[in-house]
Amino acid sequence: MTNHWNDIKNANLVLVMGGNAAEAHPVGFKWVTEAKAHNQAKLVVVDPRFTRTASVADLYAPIRTGSDIAFLGGLIHYLLDTDQIQHEYVRNYTDMPFIVKEGFSFEDGLYNGYDADSRSYPDKSEWDYELDDNGHARVDPTLSHPRCVYQLMKKHYSRYTPELVSQICGTPLKRMMQVWDTIAETAVPGKTMTILYALGWTQHSVGSQMIRAGAMLQLLLGNIGMPGGGVNALRGHSNIQGLTDLGLLSNLLPGYLTLPRDNEQDYNAYIAKRAPQPLRPGQMSYWQNYGKFHVSLMKAWYGDAVSAENNWGYDWLPKLDEPMYDVLKVFDMMYEGKMNGYFCQGFNPIAAFPNKAKISAALSKLKYLVVMDPLTTETSEFWQHVDDYNDVDTTSIQTTVFRLPTTCFAEENGSLVNSSRWLQWHWKGAEPPGEAHPDVFIMGGLFHRLRSMYQKEGGVFPDPILNLDWSYERPDEPTPEEIAREFNGKALVDLKDPVTGEVLLKAGQQLSGFGQLRDDGSTSSGCWLFCGSWTEEGNLMARRDNSDPYNMGQTLGWAWSWPANRRILYNRASADPSGQPWDDERKRLVWWDGSKWTGTDVPDFAARSAPEDNMSPFIMNPEGVARFFARGNMAEGPFPEHYEPFETPIGRNPLHPNSAAVTSNPAARVFRNDMEVFGSAEEFPHAATTYRLTEHFHYWTKHNRLNSIAQPQQFVELGEVMASELGIKAGDRVRVSSNRGFIEAVAVVTKRIRPLQVDGKTVHHVGIPLHWGFVGVAKNGYITNTLTPFVGDGNTNTPEFKSFLVNVEKV
């Protein structure tokens, strides 16, 4: 979230799109209720299903799954066309005046530089600003230059007419215009809309671009950095925010630092590339501090073993020959027999990843699989034959499977980062059952054994293993408190003020914030973003002061929020260029008091930079402003373009009806053998989407009696019209099949899913909850991801779970 749960109460309009907070985040949704009750806010829901969120909305619009970019692109066109934008905001705080290079173009659904063989844009150098002799971007404050971002964007979305958008999305035109007009009302400076989204935007082959389109909409309306505004990822698990912040992803290091590629052999060039100079005069370009964050990380990991002489252990970091080894890539390699070992820590991939048949075949080719979990999972039992639910030949599966019991939340101390970015400490309440142990015990135990084997026996490239800093009081099981102090970081020598020479911190003391980090090896910090969470004052994550003196919902004394305990990101943009809040009465967040920035939140800005210095609010970007034009940062191009899901019920992209190459995302990676098992609308005519229920959490709660009593048995949702066409009644057993397999479940026939008229065809949606499997105390069911396609978003490779094709038959 750019903002946070409590801040929703400050919104004048709540748009829920690509999410269903009332059912998936019920308690967070209280803050929508609060906004409606006490801030006269309206709630607008756009979703293929009339969800429980929709049932309390002021306005609901149905939309075909996977067509959100068309909807949002049409809205962007409408706002520009009718001039309903926050003028002063976009002119001063966004890239609209920036002039783009001449070589940039967009024709027939493709940007310049496309290579069909590799399904990618290998050369994105023209997707950038024109620079002047000082290396600064050229701008045209009048916004009239034909290649300024404003003009390019206007041209790009001019094709998204209301009629065409309605044809693509299946949203009735009148209803769509009502939604657009309601949203447009928040273009005035004192009114804000918040966007709440979740996996309904993320899990598409164009998911990242859907989210970008939402962010662009918010920028046009001046809603980023504002109380009650922002683009808010609700997130699905209790600590995926924290685990992402800590960089547990193929290509990342903690704090959104990135691993080097093969061709980045030179350490200084690696740092320089990630520490860009400002692209406009007077801008901060905060990533210029990258080297400080990186060196402090390497000091936290490797201690005295790294120094300037060995480039802070640069060669010990693995280099990437691919953009990333994401889970689809890894399971494809496993399927091809190229992997031997795999670890699953609190994760159930055979249930959670697409195309179960492929995942099962892949796991069967492993030499060893290690599962760490508090519960029995389908993945740990993938080799068991369980009726039709898991129809495998056990004896032919030669994988050795280890299953290690772990603690659950109640049995350990530690912190979780919620979607508000709050690091909240929790305390152990009981011992785990039997011989279960925390994950740290397992990781420590494995590491120790590996290290002692490399010490005794030698082996290939043991250096990073032998040199890893492990100075914990109990090396077999470091405590959560020690680890938390390590990721915050400490001074390694007496830290002196460079100007006055005054000692700021003594050697060994905890750092109080990432502003103290240095790139000379004198500080360590395992995650710069978390620096400030455990200082000399103690564990700030454990704070429990819930007071809210300004009644803005910021509760700065509750837990600790990254970065720097700031609750709303980009909050400098909540004040106008002269430094005063756009709305001094109801939207007071930060302001310039004549000598410094202050406010009801921690200002996201240089504390002493006066408004007349003209520093822009988006300090992480070298240009200082927010981007409509993504430059070279997105796989499929600088502006979001609508492409169909890989399994499309209409078989063509109405924006480019004559070009099959751009029916679906032309820059999404598709593996050999996966393209062949995409289904077509002729054989599988219905649009399917998967989702969670209120009563269950993923594949865990089927192990709990209460949840299993509330929702005991697998079902699918069908609309009344579709059901009657197929002769299916409520309670009938139906078979839902895709080109990859089938599931059987009870039919729930509902008014909540209505047929949509899309591109001249009637499209029915089938709703498929995901919670059942072949272990648990609930009734056994089929793994829903038997059906889903093995293809991901063009940038993140998050699988397209939300849009695929199925056929439905009565059993």
């Binding site: 967070g28 093969d262 080894y325 820590q345 350990e412 929790h426």
Partner: protein, 196 residues
């Protein structure tokens, strides 16, 4: 006076009931105190925690039996929302309200186990055996397949034949430690739930 717990309550209850109800002009039944159930959270230990399901991060209070002493096993028997928490203000959703059943699920794992190739069953093993065997498998695979230089002669130091999928509800401390260990081995096939 020699009196057991039940008699003590009865005695007090009768005294209290008699004095207040008599004041209202009623004659209390002598057995009134028998129906008073002892408040079940009295003398329980409260521990603050955070819901491990979705990412709203609702505050919890876990109530357990046991003195908290060193040789006492605490037993959590009730969980409710933390009324001081600024987001949930005491409330929980149907999932969070059932958390006690997650802790005590019959499908919690109790011991390390191994399933050997082709086998149809689990075998209980000790932690030492499990971790020794896993570490040996890791080392064998790493030593056999670690790539120090690519075809172009560039230093790449990666290990691609073993992968690691990190959790979604593990604490940040567990996550940090996992990252530190996994990266030191050179693994690149490393993701967490945020990928999907």
């Amino acid at each position: 006076m020699d009196m057991n717990r039940r008699e003590f309550f009865k005695f007090c209850g009768v005294g209290l009931g008699a004095s207040s109800l008599a004041a209202l002009g009623m004659t209390p039944e002598p057995a009134f105190a028998d129906s008073i159930r002892h408040f079940k959270l009295t003398a329980s230990k409260e521990t603050r925690n955070t819901c491990p399901y979705c990412s709203v991060g609702c505050g919890l209070i876990m109530y357990s039996r046991g003195s908290g002493g060193r040789n006492v096993k605490q037993d959590i028997f009730h969980i409710e929302g933390d009324a001081d928490h600024p987001v949930n203000r005491g409330s929980l959703c149907p999932k969070g309200a059932g958390l006690i059943d997650f802790i005590h699920s019959p499908n919690r794992l109790h011991y390390p186990q191994v399933r050997e190739p082709g086998s149809k069953e689990w075998k209980r093993v000790s932690w030492n055996e499990a971790l020794d065997r896993i570490a040996r498998l890791m080392k064998e695979d790493r030593d056999a397949n670690f790539v120090e230089k690519n075809d172009a002669g560039q230093t790449v130091n990666r290990w691609l034949t073993t992968g690691f999928l990190a959790a979604s509800a593990a604490s940040s401390e567990a996550g940090y430690m996992t990252h530190k260990v996994v990266r030191s081995t050179g693994i690149l096939g490393f993701d967490n739930q945020a990928r999907v």
